[in-house]
Symmetry: D2
């Protein structure tokens, strides 16, 4: 942002009442064209719909509308061909288009701004943009869901420890563990759809803040642009950024889920856990340590969680205590959205790639599940089924664990005779309880880790994933 | 939190394998009973449903179940009578209930914990609590909506300046301004309903993390407790706190709306704006300045916005990068929810009270709307209707404003002759444009401030508010 | 917060100009006595200093000052004896004291408020409180530093893997690892001292916002209360809360450090790493899984990080865009400070206790350091010393690692002959490089992990810790 | 970030042990060159210092060092001439330099990386960068301080209302009000200096995490680069980002101050307050409303507060619970710093410009100070000086205000006779109290608004501002 990058410019389009030119630093500081140029295709889309309506309502004569339209289409073509550059002195994408149009077709370009203001125009552009991006994001997330589901189907039977407090707790199968993430993502899809519904409302026609005296037809514009709703109050329409915050909030929760998954991938790929091998293609090395293979992708995803949380908080702060209606502070709504969209799309695609190229180390995982008394709960449940109350059973088994721990034994290493010294109800059938496979198949409650439950859950999840709708 | 407040205690219920007592400081630090006692009625409700299911599934014999039930009901009665105190050494509300039950009915109290863990139990309790609170909050918000709607109906015709950039922009009527807030609150209601739907899912039956080997029936429990869903994956069920974050996010947006409204109330009640008089009952004075009457209520609401944002951010931070499943960190989920619920209920009630006791100063408001060239846009639109393109019209009027400003005149003070010096198309009919009432009635686009539009919008809003559902 | 808990009360002390009583809900909502009672000893301390000055300046006659003083001292005694209760209708701690004083000594109690306002009074109280708490916190942190230093001295020679990206990177000794934390804490001590300096400024005498017309002597008061500075501008003094935010910021960084340490303690105490055994006294068990011993303390500390971040963020939000001077929003400054102080003191004490009762598993740690090619960098450095450029050396060793990995060998398992096939400069002296002890003693650069460096660093750290000053 | 923008590239410099190429998406995702190119001059500066040390320590032969040096200087020249472009496939600024150097001077380029790692290198670069930026920021802030001080000196005598709760409270003079901001900025300068001191520590020589076996001399490097300290622990040095968070925290407080000042500028420039006219050069207009002149600059500054808070929070989140030492998450430290630096520099410069071009409306301000009973406290103090206790005096004046309010009178409009009906001690001398000028000159306590106090405070502030040091 060096002053020299701004050329001496012609008077601003809004500067009728001004007697002094804007300070060059102010031009740079208040400009948004350096980032809102991304909205250009949406700005054109909105302008075309507005123009058609103005023409149909005879607010602009047909022939003039035709000329304006052809001008706009030309700009659209230039954008598609990557020909446009965006000088800072054009302030924002809206002024850029108006000035460019004026160059092409002369002063009647000025007729396009009839019955609208930048206030409702920018709200429109951002909604059009976000609608597209949410659709894309939902599709990328669906891909990730499918990839993980595929893993759950192919390798879901592998046994590993389930953890609480990062301490081995009870054995689970991989499919069960992966379904936990798929549940999270299902909720993310839901939340994104809900945000989408509130994004999908037409603000155009609210003009500066109070509506317009021209006989516009907002329904026409809404239909042309595919909006399911028309904003019912013009003052709200130009000052509402709930949809931005909601999106950032849904994005933050999604990133939180990614950070949890990333944490596990990082743990699992270290030598201590050693449950997985992430493909070389998703790791990087060290500039100094030749042996290093680092799980950079999940690490960076975990790190980017802070970035997205920061955007959410920033936007909430910006909106705090703003009086109605539009305030310049609202210009700060765009960059966090753009950056969050890009971050989410990248993280989602990367995780899809990573999960397609991961190798599980079945033996290491299973061995871990066999070590650390993960069947102690089963032993307590066994005692309960023999008539003890659960709390007493828990105490008995706790004492057995302490005994085994001291001797460096696992539960399955204890003889029936030894067990009997802790409680007389132990019988030979206790052996079936202390077997990993049978123990897991016992946890057959709805939503439990028993393979038959997991198989059912995978089938249901598959249907849920495949029936996701993106023509929201 | 002084160590002396913890009494020497009996061994922990889970301490079978432990050889050393917990450090007293640890007991204090890790206890949650000092705040989660609020969940007691929900814990009992959940325990009763769990117990009935255990009995019906013959996991616990009927007569034992009967004794446990009567014990639980006794505790419920004690709670209702305000008789209970919660010593820190009881750790949490679950252990408190189990110990108290044991005192009443002996060791069979231990049977109640069959087929469940504190992990699924606390998730259940928090969901039951939040379900109730969201319902209450939605009802209080509806009251506020009705109060403001009433104001819109009674005083909606008053004229005041609409602002952008906190500069007078275009005249609006009060009803239009108030409807902007009602639109925000409508979205808040929607969001709360969506959160509610995801809160309303039964986690119980997930046990520690992997389900249970007892033949439980989760559907029975869900029906008994009125849940519309059963959590499909046990690992997710015990580690998911999305619903907490979602609630805090919806709460943050609601507080943001309150902060905007509060800002306006503060501005309006100062001598500079002087649009309203807030009732003495909603203001306080100064300990030193005898003349002061301060708008403490909206100020404090605005201030509490930070508190709720902080809770959202805190919870997002806490959840970042936690591996599955339950981690002790999750204990931090309760206080932010309790405090947010209390804050929101209070703010909502206070705003209802404040709006019921506010007096608008019609003359001051209208005078403000007449000063500051608020009809300049109308003048530009007039020129457009005479055939100028909007951009040129804008320039012409900008110059007229500069001219008037220099002479300390308003637009209506300029003679037709003077106007004609700026552009020849000005005709005598320009007078109708420069009239406040007629100008506003012209802004008759859908969602605009024209009185007929506002009246229609009020009718529709009334129907939306009255049709809100709380048996979600 | 139920309306019923407020009793019908006498007219407010500030209510001369008010014609209506405050709404009961407002009383509850705007009260701060429910939390600011903690400031009572500081309020008294400040009032006594103010009183003495008023007397010495002859603003209050000596005999009256004497009566007021004895009244204040009586209240102080009641506080020390734990006799006081704080009814909500007393609004805040200042009004509580004034009313209680009035009950004891009659209307001359009202003279105490001469030349001051609650605005400067509350700023004073909070600064006095925070000054004390920062001192305490610094002392507790020093204890923790000493405890960890002790561990570094006693067990600092143990070998463990140093990690980057949570992948084994290079071997380090425990003392070196612990010194990393001690460096963090040294910075925390510095930051707390800096905050202290800015807390330690006297706001009293600023009155409502503009100073006072009474001939007060602020220097006297500052000396009596031990302040090193007098606030130079009254408007700033009553609206400044930088010191609160600074404290919360220093607290957030400290919690961040604790969260990193906690993460490592959690990892290390799991079966996968298995480097440490945390004492039973600092762990808790599971209500359902009898074998569980959970590292609750570090988990909860990690979780509470979010809480403190949330307070920081909340306070920043609250202060955003507040016009000068005092606004009611500022009342929100106390609870986050109180809760943060309590959280930090607890976490610090708990970590001291935990570190005093931790057992390191030397063999497991060393074995981990021997597995995973942690000396690959040493091998590359060996090649550099033989004349290769570092980048080439890195490539050669990378290839060797790939070769060994495929054969499931460590570097030390490779024969000289094998190494020579990768590069001809390998000689017999390569063996000394591939030895853990000698490799570490080689990393003898300043601040490196070589035992002699670490010993020196421990000595220096000990001096830094012991020379910490708390009479700041 | 489209995959197509990455060209098929040569093998990574660290990829000896890798058998698969990095996924193109991963290259894009994990690259930092797209933003860390800003560090290039600092990277070169650090490399040159490192190189010289390596040569002097005979770790690299002199002639080779000479060639490397000339290569580095060439790159420096290219940077200064703006000739460099940074392809994504170069990963980061360090690899960019190494590869470019290799192109220039061949494989001995690889010798430069002897005894260092990217882990200590990036910490160095960021510290060098931030050291420079903090210096710049402190100088820009000093300019702003001087500009405001100038205003205080020239127009400091103007009278305006001082506000609490945004209600008129007591009259102050403009100089007094401005000094409140200058006090804030003085603290900001202090905080920035403190951060600077902790930034100013040399991490280089820590290598990957454990130091190096080469006989480096860190003191030489520190001196060459002007560091006042050498990081005492290598593990801390590569994983410490406290300095980033501290900077963001100091930045957040500064932005908070700017947001408060901006809020006041916005309020004051609206027609309701109408205290100031901001120059046209610092305002912008509306695309639709020809009369609008909006205070965009302060609005946007206020809005950007959220952005900076967000960066602080994001970074705190990213650092939470990271195990030692370097993790890829740390890569997220740069963008928030870059953006915060740019934001702060711009806001500071803009405010300087704005304050140089502001016009105060003395009459409007003074009239506001005369309306609204701003001397009620003076009247109460008058009664106290006549012997009433303050609380009683407050009540009496409160009642007088209520009386005047009802009759739409100001205090000065009340006759002595009327006053006497409220209390008999009122005498003719009461008139002197109810005079704006004399009332203000009475508030002569240290730090008060009396003109003589303010004059003294301005002199002292001038000395403080002029003695600010930037060769920190």
């Amino acid at each position: 942002m060096k002053p020299s990058t701004i050329k001496k410019k012609d008077k601003k389009l809004w500067a009728g009442r001004f007697s002094e030119a804007t300070d060059p630093l102010v031009d740079i500081f208040t400009n948004s064209i350096s980032f809102d140029y991304r909205l250009l295709p949406y700005d054109l889309m909105g302008s075309l719909a507005h123009l058609n309506m103005l023409a149909r309502q005879r607010i602009i004569p047909g022939p003039e509308a035709k000329r304006i339209r052809s001008g706009l289409l030309e700009i659209q073509k230039e954008w598609n061909q990557g020909k446009l550059t965006f000088p800072l002195e054009d302030e924002d994408v809206h002024m850029f288009v108006e000035k460019r149009l004026r160059k092409k077709i002369g002063p009647i370009a000025g007729k396009l701004h009839t019955a609208r203001s930048r206030n409702d125009q920018v709200a429109l552009d951002l909604r059009l943009y976000l609608r597209d991006q949410i659709r894309d994001l939902k599709m990328e997330l669906q891909s990730l869901q499918k990839t993980i589901l595929e893993t759950a189907k192919n390798q879901g039977h592998l046994v590993l420890p389930g953890y609480t407090h990062l301490q081995r707790a009870q054995p689970v199968i991989l499919g069960h563990h992966l379904l936990a993430y798929l549940e999270m993502f299902s909720r993310d899809q839901e939340r994104l759809s809900e945000v989408f519904r509130r994004v999908n409302s037409l603000p155009l026609g609210s003009a500066a803040l109070a509506g317009t005296s021209f006989p516009i037809d907002r329904t026409q514009v809404a239909q042309a642009l595919g909006f399911s709703q028309i904003s019912p109050n013009s003052m709200d329409a130009v000052s509402d950024r709930d949809f931005v915050i909601e999106f950032l909030s849904a994005a933050s929760i999604l990133m939180m889920h990614y950070s949890r998954m990333s944490e596990e991938l990082i743990l699992w790929s270290g030598l201590e856990f050693d449950f997985v091998e992430i493909s070389d293609a998703f790791c990087t090395g060290s500039s100094i340590m030749p042996q290093k293979k680092n799980p950079d992708v999940p690490e960076l995803i975990r790190g980017k969680t802070g970035r997205v949380y920061g955007h959410l908080l920033g936007m909430l702060t910006t909106m705090k205590a703003l009086p109605l209606t539009y305030n310049k502070d609202l210009q700060e709504d765009k960059e966090p959205v753009f950056d969050t969209v890009e971050t989410l799309l990248n993280c989602t695609r990367l995780l899809s790639g990573l999960w397609s190229n991961i190798r599980f180390k079945a033996e290491v995982m299973e061995k871990a599940a066999e070590t650390g008394y993960l069947l102690a709960t089963d032993l307590a449940d066994y005692l309960v089924k023999k008539g003890l109350d659960f709390r007493t059973a828990h105490q008995v088994v706790g004492t057995i664990v302490a005994y085994a721990l001291e001797r460096n034994l696992e539960l399955r290493d204890l003889s029936l005779a030894t067990l009997k010294t802790f409680h007389s109800v132990f019988k030979a059938d206790v052996n079936t309880v202390l077997n990993l496979a049978s123990a897991m198949s016992q946890r057959n409650s709805q939503g439990g880790t028993a393979p038959q439950q997991v198989k059912k859950a995978i089938r249901e999840m598959e249907m849920r994933i495949c029936s996701l709708q993106f023509d929201l």
